[in-house]
Symmetry: C2
DNA sequence: AGACCCAACTTACACGTGTAACCGAAATCG
DNA sequence: CGATTTCGGTTACACGTGTAAGTTGGGTCT
């Protein structure tokens, strides 16, 4: 490795025969600063020839803010929906001149506090609450903080209303004539933050229709264990279950198969996410899907709003959560 | 937003009644620099009281390198394996004092060139080849470049040898007595870089045993379309198929079901990845899995090796790819 | 007692950039 | 024709940090 020295704007200036400031003005299209066409092309040419790229560190240091948005991901099992959301979010932020980077949850080895220091992002998106001290520290460093988690205490949620997801599931089953519902709770403690509000949504939908409260069971991703759950549901006269997500729903399907029950005849099942295996299951799985493109765009809009101190826009939640009807319910 | 000014090391120095350099020495535990216990605690105390956190930009600017490793992800459908790999990679890098951030492929809207400038990473991990110009630019900026993609031309691969994955699939089927194999190719053009070498591995295994070359078909993630593929295979006397991954394998399963064939009686199927739905399928899906923890650790080791100019360590490939036997093959 | 060393600091500079302030010349205006 | 604006730049400073190169004063060795 010859370890060539970094090419700086001074090198460009020297080659173009102008001052370093002129280079900066040309490259940043600074308004209210006039540059003759001749020198402009000379500077651009020199920059291209040298392969100049400005130092992000120096720029960030000088201007005080970068165009990087940092997304802190908890230690979740990351599936296609999260991947899709991140892709859409990245695209949406790019449209606003921002750049998304994601930090996967590293088994809590290092506190998040260390990370945002190391990046100096313009904004941080987090799916976990910060301590007040952390939030204050970030604000004082000029970082716009966006917490995309359903806040228990506060009135409105920033993220996709997970209650609504649960409600849609229940509504679909009730519309099909079911009156006694079950809820298939995930075995993974890490996703509790998602599971709780979804279950709450199912409960709310049942309560609104004066139906009995759904009987919840924790369903492991294992056919025989799931079969036990299915038998328990049958013994309590449950005819349809809402699953936390498609994987749990597939477990319920497998459990029903093992227990010798037919779906949806003996038991109807509805999932969440519409992962690719859902439509390949036997029977094809009815599920609830969220339009991640809209969610990504909304999250991006929330970020830019937070950066400019304005308040977040509304998310047209009702329009983006819909049932994908297949054969399992 | 009161927009409090950033607290700098000068503030800490003032409060502790020492010079700014002393603060830096204390906070960085600079070797060969002696600090009395009294001032050390005074500095530490002042820093804690003010909530001081050093400016990453300034530090990066001064030292020339940051401790951030940037991973560029192409526009792939991101599943649990990728998520698991990233989590393990992040943990492994953290163990080396590095921080991982991931950039999800944003539909090619912005060239990657823009991004590494904006982050000033110590290293970049990419799953796509760079142009020579890009690589040169990054090297000249002091970025260690690691390309984790099977290089066609070169002899050895950096990433997990995908050929080996295919070989393992074929070996398992052959060991079960199958002689005429099929290959279920994914419908998604974006994963071609993974699919090609896996298919090559299957071909190689067949050739080594003097078996006919596998008959490849592109299998969409749709039951009836997959059923067509299954019938084609049956008409060419294929008794077992290797699928590109578990999703495609599930499609084959669904196709066989639709076509009225039994698995593994009429057709054996083996997938790749061991995603959670695999064991929930009917029948439970035999699959090939890769130990992502080892891969993550190896990738991290490769990165630190590249940063210090050394050559990459060997990956014990043979030990980490293994078959998960279930009922489908 | 003088030479010397070492602990414990401080002073001073460099990293690469953005931008406010300044400046000469040419053009415009009253 | 003098005053003033506009054009096309340059000089100079600040951002916050790491660290090499001094600078003390007190102790040690010869």
């Amino acid at each position: 490795m010859p370890d060539t020295k970094r090419v700086t704007s001074a090198d460009v200036a020297r080659l173009a025969g102008v001052s370093r400031a002129t280079v900066s003005y040309v490259l940043n299209d600074t308004p209210r600063q006039t540059i003759s066409a001749g020198t402009r092309t000379r500077v651009l040419d020199a920059a291209a020839r040298l392969g100049y790229s400005p130092s992000a560190a120096a720029r960030t240091l000088r201007t005080g803010r970068s165009d990087v948005v940092l997304c802190l991901l908890p230690d979740w099992p990351i599936g296609p929906e999260v991947g899709s959301l991140l892709g859409n979010l990245s695209a949406a932020l790019t449209r606003h001149g921002l750049t998304l980077v994601v930090h996967p949850g590293s088994r809590g080895e290092r506190p998040v506090a260390e990370l945002w220091k190391a990046i100096t992002p313009a904004a941080v998106i987090s799916y976990t609450e910060f301590t007040d001290a952390e939030a204050a520290a970030m604000r004082s460093a000029g970082v716009a903080v966006v917490v995309a988690v359903p806040r228990r205490g506060r009135g409105r949620e920033l993220a996709v209303p997970q209650e609504l997801v649960g409600r849609r599931q229940a509504e679909h089953l009730v519309a099909a004539g079911h009156t006694r519902l079950g809820y298939a709770y995930p075995d993974d403690q890490r996703v509790r933050f998602f599971a709780e509000p979804r279950l709450a949504g199912v409960r709310a939908a049942c309560a609104a229709r004066r139906l009995p409260t759904p009987v919840g069971l924790t369903v492991p991703l294992d056919p025989s264990a799931a079969a036990d759950c299915v038998r328990r549901w049958q013994s309590t006269e449950v005819t349809a279950v809402c699953a936390y997500n498609d994987e749990v729903a597939l477990a319920v399907l497998a459990g029903a198969r093992t227990a010798g029950l037919s779906v949806p005849g003996d038991l109807a099942v509805i999932g969440v996410d519409d992962i690719p295996p859902a439509r390949l299951a036997a029977p094809p799985l009815t599920t609830v899907t969220t339009d991640q493109a809209v969610v990504g765009a909304h999250l991006a809009a929330t970020v830019v709003a937070a950066m400019s101190g304005r308040s977040a826009p509304e998310l047209p939640a009702a329009d983006i959560v819909r049932v994908v009807p297949r054969d399992s319910a």
